[in-house]
Subunit: 272 residues, 2 copies
Amino acid sequence: MRKKGMSRRDLLGMVGLSAVSAATGAASPAFAPGTRAAAAEAPKVPWPYQPLNPEDVRKRGHQAFYEGDCMYGAFGAVITALRDKVGTPYDGFPLDMMRYGKGGLSGWGSLCGALNGASAAICLVAGEDFTKLVPELAGWYTQASLPSEASNNYAKNHQFRVKKYKSDKVLAGSVSGSTLCHASVTNWCKASGYASGSPERAERCARLAGDVAARAVELLNAHHAQQFKAAFVTPAAVQVCQACHSMGTDFKKGQFTQGRENCMLCHKPHKI
Amino acid sequence: MRKKGMSRRDLLGMVGLSAVSAATGAASPAFAPGTRAAAAEAPKVPWPYQPLNPEDVRKRGHQAFYEGDCMYGAFGAVITALRDKVGTPYDGFPLDMMRYGKGGLSGWGSLCGALNGASAAICLVAGEDFTKLVPELAGWYTQASLPSEASNNYAKNHQFRVKKYKSDKVLAGSVSGSTLCHASVTNWCKASGYASGSPERAERCARLAGDVAARAVELLNAHHAQQFKAAFVTPAAVQVCQACHSMGTDFKKGQFTQGRENCMLCHKPHKI
């Protein structure tokens, strides 16, 4: 299976590079320094992108949730769509490694796994422009009513079904106000009346994984067409906080923090 | 460079599989179903592991932060160490895709990027046992004083230096109490007196990336030796909350949420 006199490493590196060159039209440069020895063999970021159908990706995310939970679902939705459309190098990605993000980091209720996974896909595809696209996705996530009407509709109508979902009901939408799994799940449970361990909550997160993947693809399509424009605006109340409490070099002013979440979810406003 | 009559996809698949088989001793099975068509070509999770030196990984994480920030730093520390020790398939991983987690998801202040990256490395290496190791890493992260004495010492002594760091000072340690970048950075700034935009804060996060990667490797070494035991215990005050507010099917009892963070960081206790 391999040419005599060449090491396994030589052969893999050679074939890997030729395959990536063929897929991209040229060996694409790394978007920043630092991969050192690995740079000679790893397919470089950004990986080649072709516009995808958000509705197809929405359904892939929904179904993939049932294979590997939320982070795997959202990441896998984008990557399997690209695998089917582009092929190499997407067919070589170890999708299973993205299972860890479920339930906000293996059940900790921290960052929503769907948002984590979709953001990873964006960075793989958009390279350094993740700095524009991921914050936009995160901002959208905090303000969108999820699950969406689109994911409710296809689940209700049994379209694209390959297995039995935990619920076919139309489910209430809720706004997370935060990137956190904990806040997202709690707000949805309170809006819907379903408990966190209910089949309906699991199905809600499956649809949400599809919705977040679909939104990521809308952003990636716009980016690919050089038409991406950031739309998220930090809420006015948060802008008031950030006037003092933001990333900066003046400790006394209050610049001992950083982030873009809605401060009022955990802090009370104080007099200025 | 390639055999006539074979497609690029055929060739890459063939070489990829033979290389993985050689590295692992046999084609390792996927730890769960669902990768479908890709399963024929992607190196399966878990990837082969060999025990690593936590101190070497700590230094790699510290330095890699300066190449790609916190998530890239912690993930890259483990993966480049395995690349140098194991080789394939680690030399084919697109490390740059992990840049998105910086600053708690591209600056949002959500999940600490170092914790996100180290958890991704754990899942790639430990497969389904991430469900034991990642929560342990997260629990440790919330209670450890960081940066550690170890990372302070080598930075102070200019060991393993390949570039100028932003600070050589011994830096104060602080406990995050949370998996969140926002809380972790704020607590450290208040403990140290440095602003969030200071060179010292950036250097603190570089050392922290190394510390989290080193801790992940300690857990992976123990797991590899079949000696891993979970040590993290949920704080007693949080256990009181979780008696009602946890993942479950009884909405009226208060089971409309999920997660393992310290509730009191955002919520006030109420009468039971």
